[in-house]
């Protein structure tokens, strides 16, 4: 190679380098590098499965024989069992929200108060249930809520002077068992959110309220609750999806996906039954898509209601 040739080679190399570093350090592209890993994992583990599930919901999926069947899967969805599953999931979501927002909020205020004793002890005991696996908790609850006289709950109600109950055999009792299990497990988590929210409320507000002679109730209702609004809306939103997608609790409580008269059947339980237990992945996908639509509509409606889409004033 001649000198001049070497020179031009070095030149183009340098130019290329400059170009490369230009792309690497360009302000325009830099943000995309940082979100790139997220985008890839989002595409592979979320977008792709969702899209192929939507596609599958229009198919009859059998090994070696996949064919499009139009809206047949959605027509099959229109049956009493699926409606019951929707009803169960809706009830469960409403009850858990009714319990899991006010109770942790009040507990968080207590734990945040200076006058509270043994704060750390209560903080950890309330949080421990969140660390147990649902499978273990479900099994323990199934035994505690057993129908024999010797089960924990039956000995308790009999001590109170009531008849023994078939906790998991009767619609209302079964739903309350599910809600109790959810409350036991999730209070700690929601408590954590509210505690974090409380820490962000400036102390000065309370001090000036005290100077103005505000009562404890006034401080709570006029300062704490309004300022916790963003946290409350967040907890509300995740609770809606959490409620509608509940499955493991019901699965473990009845030791399989079979509760008497489907009193514990949830939407995801119905998806599991059709998609996997009966090998009808097409119908299962249709159930999944319906679940997505339901939660989407409710969440958007709820966020609109709370004014989350309005511009900050």
């Amino acid at each position: 190679m001649t000198d001049s040739a070497l020179e031009t080679a070095a030149n183009t190399e340098a130019k290329r380098k400059a170009k490369r570093s230009g792309i690497l350090y360009s302000q325009k592209f830099a943000p995309y590098y940082f979100v790139f890993p997220f985008l890839v994992s989002f595409a592979v583990f979320f977008a792709y499965p969702v899209l192929s599930a939507i596609n599958m919901s229009f198919q009859e999926v059998l090994p070696g024989q996949v064919k499009y069947i139009g809206l047949d899967n959605y027509k099959d969805l229109w049956n009493a069992t699926f409606l019951k599953a929707i009803l169960n999931s809706t009830k469960y979501t409403i009850y858990t929200i009714v319990i899991l927002i006010p109770v942790p909020l009040v507990l968080a205020v207590f734990l945040h108060s200076k006058r509270m004793i043994a704060k750390n002890f209560f903080r950890s005991t309330l949080f421990i249930p969140a660390l147990t696996s649902v499978v273990v908790a479900g099994t323990v609850f199934r035994l505690a809520f057993g129908e024999l006289e010797g089960s924990l709950m039956n000995s308790f109600v009999m001590w109170l002077g009531f008849e023994k109950q078939r906790w998991l055999g009767n619609g209302a009792l079964a739903m309350s068992t599910l809600v109790i299990l959810a409350a036991w497990r999730w209070i700690g988590i929601n408590l954590l959110y509210f505690m974090a929210g409380l820490q962000n409320i400036p102390k000065e507000l309370y001090e000036s309220a005290e100077i103005d002679g505000a009562s404890t109730w006034n401080k709570f209702s006029r300062i704490t609750i309004p300022l916790l609004r963003p946290i409350t809306i967040y907890v509300f939103t995740i609770s809606i999806y959490g409620g509608y997608s509940m499955f493991t609790e019901s699965y473990m409580l009845w030791n399989g996906n079979r509760s008497p008269n489907d009193i514990g059947l949830t939407i995801v339980g119905y998806l599991y039954r059709n998609g996997l237990e009966q090998n009808n992945l097409g119908l299962g996908s249709a159930v999944g898509f319906a679940l997505l639509l339901i939660t989407f509509v409710i969440t958007i409606g709820q966020l609109k209601l709370f004014g989350m889409f309005r511009k900050e004033e």
Binding site: K17, R20, S21, L24, Y33, P37, V40, V44, V61, L62, P63, G64, Q65, N79, A80, L143, G146, E147, L148, S151, G169, W254, N255, G256, R258, S259, P260, N261, D262, L265, R273, L276, E277, Q278, N279, L281
Partner: protein, 435 residues
């Protein structure tokens, strides 16, 4: 310069990490083909630890008998639902399935939908067909091809707690029909205050044997695959059970089925006098109800009418070879060795306590040797089986079975036995919904 290098390097590392995470892991690459004298790797999935132990033992025996065709069995035991779901998805996608897998009877029809992704086992089954209980092969068949081999016949029998029956002055040998059973149950209840039996409300082991034992080839479906749940054989069995519950002779099983901890405790403590379950339920007694050792006797089930069949083949696990297996021939041969050979069938009894598929080993001397089951139930277990040999009714299994079973487990039985609704009305509604 250094900065730039660092950026490129970290980008590269990230990319490779992502790519390796994305590229599919093709699994058991460690097999060395069918070449003689080499060890073949076979992957096996099951949901039952005891099955795994049995297959490992059979592998040892195979390797002793075939020094030039050694195999190595890599077994994975998963929970029941997990294993079937995983297998279903693996076969659907054509990737990641094992060579051999245990598939439980209730789930088996799922694997026969569409084009079965399992290999036909006719070439190993047909030579032995005359020695096998054929009705137990038909439940794993589609279009004349057999896709699974069972462990056992699963003959339904009845287990009596002799201690309680003696207290009430009832001789189990006098109970010939279900009517006898009811009057004996009344006596037991009056004398001891203990209910005669318990009935499942969330599973089918109490109902299905009673339906299937009725003469003829029909049960929940007719022999040619028509829905049959409104027929007298189903209605009568449910009405009979409803009657037992009404009179207190039977109680609904605590926990809903005979596999719940609550039930094991109740039965073990002498809270119920009898239970009808298939032969394979023996293992639950020896493992979960140790206090009843020496107190239980096994008898043929009562018949609906004298001289009608007294048993039915219930439950089962078909072991299958998958289409994606890299060594299908040796996998099939090993499966046949483990489950169809005389040696294998004797071991099925010795190790698992199942009534084996080959009827020609039932009177073999090896089956009279003491093991943990004879210690528990006495030595004449197989005389019960040989007694009812000709009366073991088959069941009809096809693609509709999972849907029908689900309907019974979640709603029909609950409404009839617990909510005391009218049997015919409930069954008619269920039939309507199943159409």
């Amino acid at each position: 310069m250094k900065k730039q290098l660092l950026v490129i390097l970290s980008l590269l590392i990230m990319l490779t990490a992502l790519l390796t995470a994305c590229s599919s892991n093709n699994g058991n690459a460690g097999n060395s083909g069918d070449g003689s004298g080499k060890t073949t790797n076979l992957e096996f999935w099951t949901f039952n630890e005891l099955h795994e132990k049995f297959y490992q033992d059979m592998t040892k025996r195979w390797n002793e008998a075939n020094p030039d065709r050694q195999i190595k069995l890599t077994a994975n035991v998963y929970p029941y639902d997990d294993m079937h779901n995983k297998l279903l998805v693996a076969l659907q996608s054509g990737k990641g399935a094992p060579d051999i897998a245990d598939i439980e009877l209730n789930k088996f029809p799922n694997f026969l939908k569409g084009e079965p992704q399992l290999l036909s086992l006719n070439d190993v089954i047909e030579p032995e067909l005359n020695n096998l209980v054929k009705s137990r092969l038909d439940i794993y068949a589609k279009d004349g091809q057999y896709y699974g081999i069972d462990f056992h016949v699963g003959a339904a029998v009845i287990y009596y707690n002799k201690e309680i029956l003696d207290k009430a002055g009832v001789n189990p040998d006098d109970i010939k029909t279900w009517a006898d059973f009811e009057s004996a149950g009344q006596k037991v209840l009056d004398q001891t205050g203990v209910p005669m039996t318990s009935l499942e409300t969330s599973d089918l082991w109490s109902l299905w044997p009673q339906v299937a034992q009725a003469p003829g080839n029909d049960d929940f479906q007719t022999a040619d695959g028509q829905l049959n749940i409104t027929s007298p054989i189903v209605v009568n069995a449910l009405n009979y059970q409803q009657g037992l519950l009404e009179k207190g002779i039977a109680i609904p099983v605590p926990g809903g089925n005979h596999h719940s901890e609550e039930y094991y405790g109740l039965m073990n403590g002498g809270g119920v006098a009898s239970v009808w379950m298939p032969m394979w339920y023996m293992g639950r007694f020896t493992d979960y109800m140790p206090d009843l050792k020496g107190k239980m006797v096994i008898k043929p089930m009562p018949a609906w009418k004298a001289d009608e069949p007294r048993s039915a083949g219930m439950g089962g696990t078909g072991t299958a070879v998958t289409k994606t297996s890299k060594n299908p021939e040796i996998a099939k041969e090993f499966l046949a060795f483990a489950k169809l050979s005389k040696e294998g069938n004797i071991e099925i009894w010795n190790q698992l306590g199942f009534d084996p598929l080959r009827s020609d080993v039932w009177d073999a001397p090896e089956l009279k040797e003491p093991n943990k089951f004879t210690d528990y139930f006495g030595t004449d277990i197989f005389s019960v089986l040989t007694e009812v040999k000709e009366e073991i009714e088959g069941v009809n299994i096809n693609e509709k079975t999972p849907t029908i079973s689900d309907m019974f487990r979640t709603s029909v039985i609950v409404r009839i036995l617990l909510d005391k609704e009218n049997t015919e009305k409930v069954l008619k509604e269920a039939a309507e919904q199943l159409k």
